[in-house]
Symmetry: C2
Subunit: 227 residues, 2 copies
């Protein structure tokens, strides 16, 4: 990367962007309210079409009144993962086995996460389409990055969708509002693992499709998807 010492650069921001990854195991610690405030504030600074800010966030904490929501969510996540569930033997320490164990733990305990944020979208009186996502998913990404900046981790999921009507009823959503993402948050168990992606040359072209960008090279230490 070019000179990181220019006065208008922000190395912490860049490092955060390239090292934030999905976190699916949370310590039991609650998230203090000042941190929740900071996380939600940063989420809502994200851009949206015409700055209309159609995103809304319902923040569910572990209180007696949210038991039903959290139970509903756990059931839906378990169901979503059921077809892919494996039970690798405990002595299998391969990446695949570790991932399988993490996913099983995640779906069994998602309702116990210290905080669950439901990202909602006010519809514009027509079926939501792809482009409406440009006005809510940047805010979800800001939320995950802000959590990371304060030592938390989370993951964005749409596995609530099979129960979205029941969820909307429990959350008391108006008719014109949809839950578009479920984002559990908490302090990570263990460290943040590596971010794994496809090689940059598979994802970036210059001037036209399929034309390699000679400058697009993975940065040192990159880890790859699969393999």
């Amino acid at each position: 990367m070019a000179d990181q010492h220019r006065p208008d650069t922000n190395r912490g921001l860049y490092e955060g962007l390239v090292s934030t990854r999905a976190i699916r195991r949370y310590r039991d610690d609650d998230v203090p309210e000042p941190d929740l405030n900071a996380i939600l504030f940063a989420a809502t600074r994200a851009p949206s079409g015409h700055n209309r800010q159609p995103f809304r966030f319902v923040v569910v904490r572990r209180t007696p009144e949210t038991v039903e929501v959290r139970r509903l969510l756990t059931g839906a996540f378990r169901q979503a993962w059921a077809g892919s569930r494996e039970d690798p033997p405990a002595d299998d320490t391969s990446r695949r086995a570790r991932m399988a164990r993490t996913m099983s733990h995640f779906v069994d305990h998602v309702g116990d996460a210290p905080v669950i944020v439901f990202a909602c979208l006010r519809s514009r009186g027509r079926p939501n389409d792809l482009f409406d996502g440009a006005s809510v998913f940047p805010a979800c990404q800001n939320l995950l990055l802000a959590a990371r900046s304060l030592g938390y981790g989370g993951v964005m999921s749409t596995w609530h969708l099979p129960v979205v009507d029941e969820l909307a009823r429990l959350l008391g959503l108006p008719d014109e509002v949809d839950v578009v993402a479920t984002i559990p948050i908490g302090r990570p168990v263990g460290g943040h693992g590596p971010v794994r992606r496809l090689p940059l040359g598979d994802l970036v072209y210059e001037n036209s499709w399929g034309n390699p960008a000679p400058w697009a090279v993975d940065l040192p230490g990159t880890r790859y998807t699969g393999g």
Copy 2:
């Protein structure tokens, strides 16, 4: 915000998230390739559903072969803004007048931006829907934040949509790929202005819709939309 001095916090990341805003006027400077590389690398570290990474980026620079693409884009953006275009007198220094001048300049010159990134999505063989946006718009937000971290600015737009078929032809996109966002990038003319949003209490609820989150308060210095 809670203790910023914990070892696992990243103040630069947080500051970047809450201060990045749309930038629509660019200095003429080209973006050096190491910076382009870093920006695109960070974009592609964003999460996507099942980590499938259906996003692709076509990076258009100011070369002779991209003249047609850039001319097409300028025409589309001018058309998109035509109905809202105003010509406030030069001595009108109100925020509204300044914004009107910025927008006119933006649509007239978008094709001259040092770099124009077209965010593309590989479709899954069915019409794209809202949830496909969860696998491309976080990457667009990472791209804008990474640009900011290196001293650049940009804005995400969908004003290419009326000419999307012609654009796809010029960029040589396969049938199953759509351009979902246009992101011009360059060094800002002038400073980064304030981020303006709705009051946090209008955007965040606790446990159920409409239930105020007592901890959700705007941070000091917040600037608001409208008014």
